[in-house]
């Protein structure tokens, strides 16, 4: 434990860790892999443990230097290095990614941000991932955002869709590239709908005049607002309406209406989406995606995401 964070000491420890990891393999050595810096802000011990588990899972697809910032008020700042290793299928040499876990209270975030600058893997993209609601509520997080080429938030962690959206839009206006895992969770729904209209024999989508989005809960959750905005951008002449429906909060069904009839996507049993109407009646599997799957999808997109940006308006 140290009272402050010393980047040079951490980098030295990281090198020592690599020497030790290589020595432990009995001569085979390990392959050090890194394609980006992933700064993860976890808001307590449990959050940090879950983040580490997700990091371990996504490292296979996106080997990164993980800098996990664990917020913990009243504690001195501290840092420790770690590595994540795995043996590729049929391989003989382990592939390892490196990481640093830093503990700090939000009031020290300005200092943490300064320390993170030299700790980033040089010349590679940096992604800041805020797992919890703190990013939406604590101004201290602003200190970390300038480090990022992309900021990943999860608006499902807070209540109040309009406030969350307003915050995300404000970050975008400040020039940050933003992703929201709540939008990522909609990929399955969006893909199923898009597939219906991939069919050349399907009617032209611009004949759709109205869209009804049914959601659980009293007010439209952010996922419903996203979906409505996405549909509205794709079909500017269609009127979008939100309705409440029975069931868990979240998206329950989407109905596109045209003179030819209705096309509906609705939550069905067994983790499926039911597609009905306009000569279609089938169910398609839509298994729940864990945090690692959502992160894998977002980390694939480090450039501009024009569809999401249009949805944000």
């Amino acid at each position: 434990m140290t009272a402050t964070i010393e980047p040079e000491r951490i980098l030295r420890e990281m090198n020592q860790l690599w020497d030790q990891t290589g020595a432990d393999t009995g001569g085979a050595g390990v392959l050090r892999a890194c394609t980006m810096t992933l700064i993860v802000v976890a808001e307590n011990d449990e959050d940090a443990a879950l983040a580490r588990r997700t990091i371990g899972s996504i490292m296979h697809d996106h080997p990164s230097r993980a800098l996990v910032v664990k917020t913990q008020d009243g504690e001195d700042m501290s840092a420790r290095v770690f590595s994540e290793c795995w043996m590729p299928f049929g391989g003989q040499q382990q592939i390892c990614s490196e990481g640093v876990e830093l503990t700090s209270g939000p009031r020290h975030f300005a200092e943490v941000a300064r320390a993170l600058v030299p700790l980033r893997a040089p010349d590679l993209p940096t992604v800041v991932w805020c797992r919890g609601p703190g990013a939406f509520t604590l101004r201290a997080f602003d200190e970390l955002f300038p480090l990022a080429d992309k900021i990943i938030l999860d608006s499902s962690t807070i209540s109040g869709a309009s406030a969350a959206l307003a915050f995300i839009r404000s970050l975008r206006l400040r020039g940050y590239r933003i992703a929201d895992l709540e939008w990522t969770r909609l990929t399955g729904w969006r893909e199923v709908l898009s597939q219906v209209f991939d069919d050349q024999s399907m009617q032209a989508p611009n004949s759709i005049t109205s869209i009804r989005i049914a959601h659980g809960g009293q007010t439209p959750p952010i996922c419903a607002i996203y979906f409505g905005s996405w549909l509205g951008r794709a079909l500017p002449s269609a009127h979008v309406r939100f309705d409440t429906a029975e069931g868990d909060p979240g998206l329950r069904s989407v109905t596109l209406s045209s003179r030819e009839g209705d096309l509906s996507l609705s939550v069905s049993s067994g983790g499926c989406l039911a597609v009905t109407g306009l000569g279609r009646q089938y169910r398609t599997a839509l298994p729940p995606r864990d945090e690692a799957a959502l992160m894998r999808e977002e980390l694939k997109i480090l450039g501009s995401d024009s569809v999401y940006e249009r949805v944000l308006g």
Partner: protein, 496 residues
């Protein structure tokens, strides 16, 4: 393409979608179907890349029912899927749409039966896959046409996939093409060269045209030579009968390695679209200098491993090349004068496919070399296709310690380390491409003809009655003549 009319498309996030379709496999009891096609299709189903209704109709002469065929295919998937767990539930859903029609490929009634089955299962889009002996390609296409199976309804498609070899020389390639094009338009003919489907071959384009630093050095001013090697450590492994007719030049260089050469040397396409990319590949292949008969002994070397004639199915007097090496020159402004050395063979020291791009040496050697041989160790860029896919750059570095002694070191990028996820097999990539109508990685007729033109003078010379193929010891890098070919040009093979 779907994106053109679909306002909901999101190509950054959505997988390219395969429309509802059926695949008719001719030669469905053969090795290719069992080892490559079914494992690839099963993996695509495992990854949910295929529509739930995707159907397979297998055909061969063997008298089987649907269930027996399904069982055979299940065994093949279990045996040959290298990195995919077998999921019995998934298989039972997948197998429900597998059918089998026994019959002779020359029998018109068999095609009527296939047409009837396609109608019964209500598939409008059909991919015909010729996994048969090449001699059947033309006849099967004609029978498909005679039965009207090539005619797609409005908004639907009918495509044919042809495996190499596309003919056994230029004339037969043209004749085959005429027969195929009499039934299918060129844009529905997919000539598969699985090398182009390999992730690492596709990565050559990303490496060249996605980075700013390499392309300026990618020309005759900086590059001294290019060596393309596709070595196998095994022999013909029971394929003696086929291999005896083909030989290394036809089996590897005419198709796979010339396509790789074209990918390394082509100009950038204006857009990354199928015909734009294929135009550039074709243009490059047409730029390869055709050898005159008297040049063949200087620029091409065959070899046969000792013991080939004792292989099962091989004529004891066989003159087939199990090794082939050739020097090609590309006659354009970028590459004039740069030799492209290409070689392939069986029973070589190790299995390895790689492209070695050797740069010119530094104009002046200022430093003492640790191994005393620095001028012979210029910068080398290695693009490894298999195994250990990756890229290495060799350069010199100062040895630690007193004085200024330098020695070569290697900077390595391993594909599997930076992208830990599983890479799709070439057949997975190419099958999906054919189903969605993307022909970028498929060979076009003009490319086939251009590559036959390149190898034909060599074939003619090696097939002349008095020509004897030199032997080489298994486990060596081919006959000594291959090394001499390079020595005459002041170069050496890279036998790392």
């Amino acid at each position: 393409m779907p994106d053109d009319h679909n306002p909901f498309a999101d190509p950054l996030r959505f997988e390219r979608r395969v429309p509802e379709c059926a695949m008719v496999i001719f030669g469905a009891n053969g090795d290719l179907t069992k080892r490559k096609l079914l494992p690839a299709l099963y993996r695509l189903a495992y990854d949910r890349r295929l529509p739930a209704s995707f159907a397979i109709i297998g055909n061969s002469r063997t008298d089987l029912g649907d269930d027996e065929f399904r069982n055979n295919m299940r065994d093949a998937v279990q045996k040959f899927s290298e990195d995919t767990a077998f999921d019995p539930d998934l298989w039972s859903r997948f197998a429900k749409n597998i059918y089998y029609i026994a019959g002779d490929m020359n029998d018109p009634s068999m095609y009527q039966a296939i047409g009837k089955r396609i109608g019964e299962i209500e598939r409008h889009n059909v991919l015909f896959y010729l996994s048969t002996q090449p001699s059947y390609y033309g006849a099967v296409a004609e029978q498909i046409g005679a039965a009207g199976l090539n005619e797609a309804g409005p908004g639907a498609w009918r495509r044919i996939v042809v495996e190499k070899p596309f003919g056994h020389d230029l004339e037969s390639a043209r004749a085959l093409n005429q027969r195929l094009q009499a039934v299918f338009p060129e844009n529905e003919i997919y000539r598969i060269d699985h090398y182009l489907g390999k992730e690492t071959v596709q990565n050559i384009l990303a490496f060249r045209f996605g980075n700013g630093i390499f392309e300026p050095l990618w020309n005759r001013r900086y590059i001294n030579q290019v060596q393309i090697t596709a070595a196998e450590s095994i022999g013909v492994e029971g394929r003696g009968g086929y291999y005896q007719e083909a030989g290394a030049l036809r089996d590897m260089i005419q198709n796979h390695l010339l396509q790789v050469l074209a990918t390394v040397a082509m100009e950038p396409a204006a857009v990354f679209e199928p015909d734009a990319v294929r135009d550039e590949r074709a243009k490059l292949l047409r730029s390869i200098k055709i050898m005159q008969p008297e040049q063949v002994p200087l620029y091409a070397v065959p070899g046969q491993y000792d013991g080939f004639r004792e292989e099962k199915g091989v004529d004891p007097g066989s003159n087939t090349d199990t090794f082939a090496a050739a020097t090609f020159f590309i006659e354009n402004w970028r590459w004039a004068g740069v030799p492209f050395f290409v070689r392939t063979g069986k029973k070589l020291p190790k299995r390895s496919t790689e492209i070695a791009i050797q740069y010119n040496s530094a104009p002046l050697s200022l430093f003492a070399s640790g191994d005393g041989d620095l001028p012979k160790r210029p910068n080398l860029l290695i693009l490894r296709i298999q195994p250990e896919e990756g890229i290495s750059l060799r350069f010199v570095s100062k040895q630690p310690g007193a004085g200024m002694h330098v020695r070569p070191v290697s900077m390595d990028f391993k594909y599997g380390a930076s992208f830990g996820g599983r890479s799709p097999s070439a057949y997975e990539t190419l099958l999906i491409d054919a189903m969605i109508g993307d022909a970028t990685l498929y060979t076009r007729q003009d490319m086939v003809e251009a590559s036959w033109r390149v190898v034909e003078p060599i074939l003619h010379a090696w097939q002349s009655p008095n020509f004897r193929v030199p032997l080489y010891e298994p486990g060596t890098w081919g006959p000594p003549e291959a090394e001499k070919m390079l020595e005459r040009q002041g170069r050496h093979w890279r036998n790392a």
